[in-house]
């Protein structure tokens, strides 16, 4: 039975992976330039931020929660990083990045505290902090842009600079994937999250420190948002109040496509990564294949729904197998 289950998961993920490849090839047929190495490399680089955010979001969703404030958090810590760097240009980059991450962490911990220790519903809390954080971006920046010539060279250069021919963004994302995988699979922290997601009321019976776990899960999500905040701002060399507006839904969509159940308790790192890549491909393909810009939103919606339906197909469990299995082909179909 367990094996069968694992297979189901595997199936789902291989299916997703396959459809990603298929999609790439399909677009390649329509416009070959899309499958040029450069383009694919860029596709990868372009998907990294979504991948990283999806990973953090996955951990949150596994606990039956959701973090709607990631995008606002990203904008706020990104703006802070930009301001910091532009105000004192000769500050070492490390410190700027750390600052961004730290700010993100704090913002995340606020969510975590409200959700973990005050036992408030995640969707409500993050809905609130979402608008608060977004507002703070405006307040702290005075509504002004921070644009490329305000930012120091190294600040902008870092994300796309290459190490062994691969951009830093990809290296960082890779590290994030490994970290998330270890956390989710091989750390007590991660496993507790799954337990919490499976049966929140039972967590206390086995002595899982639920409040603390949630605190740090959302903290982690915030940390990731903070890091991505810097990367985003540096990557596009501009910071303003509206950056990444509405991106939280893209992140959640990525997780959903990756087969991470909103009901909590299930979800794999692979799924999150694939889901994010899937949306990355769509996002990069649409400009290349000349579909009317007016169709893009509709297509994205259809794609998400399709993916969800495919996931749902093997997600639902029917009745149990009580009858002995050797009853004949027509019956043993479970």
């Amino acid at each position: 039975m367990s094996l069968l289950n694992k297979n189901v998961l595997k199936q789902r993920e291989t299916l997703l992976a396959a459809s990603i490849v298929a999609l790439v090839l399909l677009v390649g047929l329509r416009s070959p330039v899309f499958v040029s190495p450069a383009s694919l490399a860029n596709l990868l680089t372009d998907s990294t931020l979504l991948v990283m955010l999806a990973l953090a979001q996955m951990l949150v969703i596994v606990t039956r929660g959701v973090d709607l404030s990631v995008a606002s958090n990203l904008a706020l810590s990104g703006m802070m990083a930009a301001l910091l760097a532009s105000r004192n240009p000769d500050l070492p980059l490390v410190l700027v990045v750390l600052a961004a991450a730290a700010i993100g962490l704090v913002l995340g911990l606020v969510n975590g505290w409200l959700i973990g220790y005050l036992e408030l519903p995640p969707i409500v809390v993050t809905l609130g902090t979402m608008s608060v954080y977004r507002g703070l971006v405006f307040v702290l920046s005075g509504g002004a842009w921070v644009s490329s010539h305000h930012m120091p060279e190294h600040f902008i250069a870092f994300p796309l600079a290459r190490l062994l021919g691969v951009t830093h963004l990809v290296w960082i994302a890779g590290a994030a994937v490994l970290a998330a995988w270890f956390l989710a699979r091989h750390s007590r922290f991660g496993r507790d999250l799954y337990a919490i997601g499976n049966a929140p009321s039972c967590a206390r019976y086995v002595g899982i420190p639920m409040a603390r776990r949630l605190l740090w899960t959302y903290g982690l999500s915030g940390l990731m948002a903070g890091l991505c905040g810097y990367l985003w701002v540096a990557r596009y060399a501009v910071a303003y109040t509206e950056i990444a507006y509405g991106f939280e839904f893209t992140v959640i969509a990525a997780c959903v496509i990756g087969g991470i159940s909103i009901a909590g308790g299930t979800g794999s790192v692979t799924g999150a990564v694939l889901g994010a890549l899937f949306l990355g491909v769509i996002g990069n393909a649409l400009p290349v294949v000349q579909v009317s810009p007016f169709w893009q939103s509709a297509l994205t919606g259809i794609v998400i729904l399709a993916a969800v339906l495919i996931n749902a197909r093997d997600g639902r469990q029917g009745g149990r197998q009580i009858l002995p299995l050797h009853l004949g082909p027509n019956r043993s179909a479970a």
């Binding site: 039975m1 499976n198 049966a199 206390r204 002595g207 009580i322």
Partner: protein
């Protein structure tokens, strides 16, 4: 190492060996109620102590305070002569107090092995030592002499198997005190015997066991001593050898209760309902039976035999592959539960928490939910009527609640069960299907329920009684149908339904032996 300090002898028992666990003046209050009031208790190594009391007496609450899930408002817990306090369940486990709780503590998507060690997985060089977890899980089950696939996800296990996972969790820690809160409620005869065996194992290993149950036969089988709680207060304690069942019941109920299975003598009338050739792709196959007016038809089987599934199909909850129902002579279509109710069929589900009760709704709304159509459209103007109905059934079932607007969640397990029962009796059915109706109900109320079933049939109702409690089935049923692996194994008339033959049939012996699991 702890020093063994001398102890005052625990109440009622002549203690030579010092107690491993001793409670004094434990109190616990919730919003309204005082669940525990100055409770004292003590157990010795290798002693099996039965903790008995009516529904809502405070047994489970006591368990939770002992295992660090609740913190007592006052009182001391003394373990091996040392006063201890538990901040959380982990502390209690480390100190050697583990429990199998009344409500199932399961993490469906996790594997059996992980469910045992969840929250305290052994680490190896900074990462979880999965091989070790599986190894130890296998050893554990070997010790318990039950076979379970440790890699399976628990959501694929039967209720009984899940229960053994919980027991394994309790024993995975070298526990000095193991608490079993109504462990047999979901188990059938065979598993119950396995449980007894495990309890004896522990006993011999010198573990102290607190055994909570409403079933007296098993209390007197496994336990050495008893402690009685009533309304959250310590009433009495002593050795079971020195007390009779009647006296014990009197202690916990505070009055005498007469025999648990009062079979009202009614002669079954004409056939009221006929089920023909029920088939389902995976759950059951060609199930057919008749039900006469004023008859109690017992359904027995091992847990997981598919009885509930059949009944749920009969009630229109699961679509059938094939099959027909005739009620009072004419064929009826039952596509959904509403139609079933309209036809005068009621199904009291076995899973109170998920299928039965609306926990955060008032008792009143729970009871009248299925009969809203009859009460009226504008419920506001029908309040009096609603109250009357709800009160009628709460009182008949001797529900212990302060008012009808109380949330069901605030009631004890057994009293929740009564609310569900009342809800279905209120539909004034012709045929009532009771699936494990007395699961977790104390002996006093159990008698009430049985009396009630008696009344029902004497009013010409037909009752289908699905129960895993052999004495209940044999005591009440006019006929007993035994199911095995989704099919009807055998049917017994009241007279020739002896425990041995019924149990044998349930485990698939006789006839198709090749199917016996």
């Amino acid at each position: 190492m702890r020093a063994n300090l001398p102890h005052p002898a625990p109440p009622g028992t002549a203690a030579y060996t010092p107690p491993v666990l001793q409670l004094a003046g434990i109190s616990k209050r919730f919003a309204g109620i005082t669940a525990l009031n100055k409770v004292a208790l003590s157990v010795q190594p290798g002693e099996v102590m039965a903790l008995v009391g009516e529904n809502g007496a405070g047994k489970s609450t006591l368990v939770k305070t002992l295992t660090g899930i609740y913190q007592p408002d006052e009182g001391t817990i003394v373990l091996d002569g040392q006063a201890v306090t538990f901040a959380n369940a982990q502390d209690a486990m480390r100190a050697g107090i583990t429990a199998v709780h009344q409500e199932s503590v399961m993490f469906d998507e996790l594997t059996v092995a992980e469910n045992i060690y969840v929250g305290r997985q052994p680490m190896q060089g900074g990462r979880i030592d999965w091989p070790r977890i599986e190894r130890e899980a296998v050893q554990l089950f070997a010790r318990l002499e039950v076979t379970l696939p440790v890699r399976a996800r628990v959501k694929d296990l039967s209720v009984a198997q899940r229960h053994f996972v919980e027991i394994a969790r309790a024993l995975s820690q070298q526990a000095r005190v193991v608490i079993l809160d109504e462990p047999t409620a979901a188990l059938s005869q065979r598993e119950i015997h396995e449980l007894y065996r495990i309890v004896r194992q522990l006993k011999e290993a010198g573990t102290a066991i607190i055994f909570i149950s409403h079933k007296f036969d098993e209390i007197f089988t496994v336990a050495d001593s008893y402690t009685v709680l009533r309304d959250g207060q310590y009433v009495a304690a002593g050795r079971l050898a020195d007390i009779s069942e009647g006296e014990l019941v009197a202690l916990m109920v505070g009055r005498a209760v007469h025999d648990a299975y009062p079979k009202a003598e009614v002669t079954p009338g004409p056939v009221l309902m006929e089920v023909k050739d029920f088939c389902h792709p995976t759950e059951f196959d060609d199930v057919s039976f008749q039900l006469r007016q004023g008859e109690i038809l017992g359904f027995y089987g091992l847990v997981g035999a598919g009885r509930s599934e059949v009944m749920q199909a009969l009630f229109g909850l699961t679509p059938l592959a094939r099959g027909s129902v005739t009620l009072g002579g004419k064929a009826v279509r039952i596509g959904c539960a509403a139609e079933a109710i309209a036809h005068g069929i009621a199904y009291v589900p076995e899973d109170r928490q998920h299928q039965g009760a609306h926990l955060t709704m008032p008792i009143l709304h729970n009871i009248t939910l299925p009969i809203l159509d009859r009460i009226g459209f504008f419920l506001r103007s029908r309040r009096a009527r609603e109250n009357a109905v709800a009160r009628h059934f709460s009182e008949q079932l001797e529900l212990k609640a302060s008012h009808l607007c109380q949330h069901v969640a605030e009631l004890s397990g057994g009293n929740q069960q009564k609310v569900v029962l009342g809800k279905w009796l209120a539909t004034d059915p012709k045929v009532i299907i009771l699936d494990e109706p007395t699961k977790g109900i104390d002996i006093g109320s159990k008698a009430a329920v049985h009396r009630f079933i008696g009344q029902l049939v004497s009013q010409g109702l037909a009752v289908i009684l699905v129960s895993s409690e052999l004495p209940e089935v044999l005591g009440l049923a006019d006929r007993v149908i035994v199911m095995h692996q989704g099919r009807i194994q055998r049917e017994f008339a009241r007279i020739d339904a002896t425990p041995e033959r019924v149990v044998a049939a349930a485990s698939g012996c006789e006839a198709h032996t090749e199917e016996a699991a």
